[in-house]
Subunit: 140 residues, 4 copies
Amino acid sequence: MPKKNSAHKITRHMLEQDSFSKWLGVNIVEAEPGRSVLRIRIRDEMVNGFGVTHGGVTFALADSALAFAAGSHGRVSLALDNKITFVKPVNTGDSITAIAEEEHRGRQIAVYNVTVKNQNNTVVALMRGTVYRTNREFSF
Amino acid sequence: MPKKNSAHKITRHMLEQDSFSKWLGVNIVEAEPGRSVLRIRIRDEMVNGFGVTHGGVTFALADSALAFAAGSHGRVSLALDNKITFVKPVNTGDSITAIAEEEHRGRQIAVYNVTVKNQNNTVVALMRGTVYRTNREFSF
Amino acid sequence: MPKKNSAHKITRHMLEQDSFSKWLGVNIVEAEPGRSVLRIRIRDEMVNGFGVTHGGVTFALADSALAFAAGSHGRVSLALDNKITFVKPVNTGDSITAIAEEEHRGRQIAVYNVTVKNQNNTVVALMRGTVYRTNREFSF
Amino acid sequence: MPKKNSAHKITRHMLEQDSFSKWLGVNIVEAEPGRSVLRIRIRDEMVNGFGVTHGGVTFALADSALAFAAGSHGRVSLALDNKITFVKPVNTGDSITAIAEEEHRGRQIAVYNVTVKNQNNTVVALMRGTVYRTNREFSF
């Protein structure tokens, strides 16, 4: 199977099994080896007390994109460590897109950068995360 | 009003207004100036495709605790930057507690450390975050 | 004065005043508004007990690039928070280059990404940092 | 050999081999399994253009403390990822102490928190880092 199709198949499989990403309403925009682009629309139940999207929602979207990009090669990968920087507020009704890109992939450690943009293509958050690559392959 | 009562009142107010924290099922365990302890029970809809709690859920609980600890002094504070380190998986049915503690509070910048533990008192995640303290006071 | 020349002038000025960057042997490769590219050659006294470059040296080069990029607009900026991810060892005799790029610049907060590469154009470290922009202008 | 003596012996060995830590003038204050306390005095050549200690110097001290704490168990450990938060400026002549403490130690991953204080016991920087534990033992 071509690698790109395989990445798409793994990403769809990961999303189908992922209850919280489904609750978020994640749509797969792109799925390639080492790359994942996901989008959600912000609902009223996703905001905090300041009327802006809870940091946990933005983080969760970025984290799913990172996990799908890391998993796209077929190996189960575990998040070690993520840093997120919030640069603009996100409001109810906004549509936000997380673009996860592989920056390094070693035998056991890989690093991903995730840019989160709103519907006006403005960056709202930046994340970088490190994963530990297990020896387990996805089975499905 | 004594500072401790004020911190509790602000924390309760922040939680009441915070739709996503309510969706998470956040319980306030402690609320003091510069300190917030919050607890949730993990539901089936909070897990990812590996059957463990989505990183976004653990992050969100820690982020709410951080926000409530930062807000406890009465000033609206905005998250700039958080790093979370995941050390143990969290499962459905687990009860996790986030303990946010102030490590530094300057005029405009404050820093919080958040330790997340499960029901067996085992550390599952560690977060540190920086906030920008605005000049706005909470009004309610 | 054109902005690009101004950025170069500020960068040169910052380097001249910066004793530790001079000890590192920093060379300015590029200086533009919001962008700084710096290079050093690793000397014997910069390595740790494993015979590879001390993380503090790689960090310091990236941090100087970040500081010069942040300062290039003429406002004194203070580092709040940096995360560095180490992906490849750096050896004595290697030449490493830090490329700092502005990802966000608000009124008081700005965010920079720094990629550190060796002489073979291989990424050795990745940093992202947040600065607080004071109201003070550089004077010289 | 008692574990505490062994930790001290490994720490002394790591420092002896570590050219950059020696350039920094590192003194070992404490060395125990999973814990390292190091101190340096800030010299003129360690400051940046603002007349305050270069972030790379503070980071380097914290990074050495983290590395020594991680190495204290006898296994060679490699830094993956560190975040440092700067909270107070450090000046020439100041004496700063980094206290590295183990927060988690798994089979392959361990996490350390490092608090850096000045001679007045004021916190100047906070770091948290993740290391990968190789299977190699220190030999000396």
